[in-house]
């Protein structure tokens, strides 16, 4: 497949109004090329979750268009790897069963039990939780649950990956570890990815581009190029000059937009 003008995720004039008449998301225009990762920054209530939920097919009523490779996601839903803020694990299933079930549902016609088993083992190991396979989610720490949720999303081999403030409940150290693990794995298997965060540093560490949502839903989003920071080796990013400059720049945009 050669990349065409249509490839990737395209969102045109998307707006969502909830039943109570509340405008949750106003006129979003956004293009994410295939195999890119964009981070989304925005104040509380600016519609970040609503945007992800609409793309994920959880909100069916919206105005505007969401296209993937030129086809509306309404007609042909691409495979979604969703990582909600609350992890979205079923408490009554073990770590292994949670991933296994999601894989079976998303790939109903694939019938190679052995390779599926290998996949699960691979992703558990990749997220550093191989020893947790038989545990139940309620017996895990928040950081461990988040690793499971991310392992599950990767194991689905999704076309689009959507992460909604996945690390916001974690302490700083755990958070850095999981950020690194996530990014390493993403680079090896880059799905088209939207990553919502309210943390400026996280947005700069993980995004090729950064989308800043305005608090006024009539205004347009601001798209900030972050490629030069993204390409720095992850260990060195935080201490780099580019990272520092980018932080300053984004803080300024935020001050104007929020």
């Amino acid at each position: 497949m050669s990349p065409s003008r249509n490839s990737g995720l395209h969102i045109k004039e998307l707006s969502v109004t909830y039943k109570d008449g509340q405008l949750a998301l106003g006129r979003v225009n956004l293009s994410v090329p295939e195999h890119s990762i964009y981070t989304i920054l925005g104040p509380s209530g600016s519609g970040k979750s609503t945007l992800l939920r609409t793309i994920a097919g959880l909100i069916k009523e919206y105005q505007g268009e969401i296209l993937f490779d030129g086809i509306s996601v309404h007609t042909q839903e691409p495979l979604i790897g969703l990582v909600p803020q609350s992890y979205g694990l079923l408490p009554w299933k073990t770590v292994h069963a949670n991933i296994n079930m999601a894989m079976k549902i998303s790939h109903p016609y694939r019938n190679q039990r052995q390779s599926q088993e290998q996949q699960i083992q691979h992703w558990l190991a990749a997220m550093g939780i191989a020893d947790l396979a038989k545990r139940y989610p309620l017996s895990l720490s928040g950081g461990q649950q988040q690793r499971v949720a991310i392992a599950r999303a990767f194991a689905l081999e999704p076309t689009i990956m959507l992460l909604d403030e996945p690390f916001s409940a974690l302490d700083a150290v755990t958070r850095e570890t999981i950020q690194r693990l996530f990014l390493e794995n993403w680079i090896a298997h880059p799905a088209t990815t939207l990553f919502v965060t309210h943390d400026v540093e996280e947005a700069i560490l993980l995004g090729e581009k950064i989308i800043v949502m305005p608090s006024n839903k009539e205004n347009h989003q601001v798209l900030i190029d972050n490629d030069h920071v993204f390409r720095i080796k992850h260990e060195d990013k935080r201490d780099s000059d580019d990272f520092f400059q980018q932080t300053k720049r984004i803080r300024k945009v935020i001050q104007e937009q929020w």
Binding site: L82, P91, A102
Partner: protein, 249 residues
Amino acid sequence: MNNKKSHHVLRLLLVFVSMNVIWYIAYVLINHSILPSPLAVYSSMGHLEGKKVWLDVCYSLFRIFAGVLLALTIGMSIGLLMGRSRIWNKLLDPVVYLTYPIPKIALLPVVMLFFGLGETSKILMIMLIVLFQVIISVRDGVKAIPDSTYDVLTSIGASALQKFWHVTLPGALSVILSTIRISLGTAISILFFTEIYGTEHGMGFFIMDAWLRMDYTEMYAGIMLFSLVGFVLFLLVDYLDYRFMKWRN
């Protein structure tokens, strides 16, 4: 863990033994054939003509299982419908609200009028007792599952059946089990009433038959056996709870 369990068993045994001691003291004090000694009752339990008693136990168990199963099937369907659909809840809620407080035992004569004295009315009575509890607890259990629990499944295109199987049913199972536990006691009492008439089999019949023949030792033996069956049923529910609710701790 194991230590805790053996302590629990020890406590149960202790209570059981003390109850028998009290019984024995009462037997000595009353000194009348209406209360035989526990030893006599236990030895008569051993001498009950094996097959006949097992047939009675099987009849009773069948009625309980059939009634509970029926109540679960119907109650879960209605409870799920009410828990998942706002319209159905609005429609059925007043019906449940109005019929729930009716003491179901009062319906016994009605059920007998409509369905006769046979098997059907016995099973129906048990079903009626359990049904309303199941409906209400399943509805509330399903409602208590946060919407977000379904999100990941919905996002990967799971069917309604898959969501039911992986989320709704296991999510409501805990309340279903505790409902069964609570209604089982009532169901067994009702069973006793219904087995007094229109049957030659069942534990209720066995006890009342011994009473009519004034064979009090056998009557008490029947009561003990009936209690034992109830106890085993409770253990069964406990086992199910242990088996399916491991994830809670």
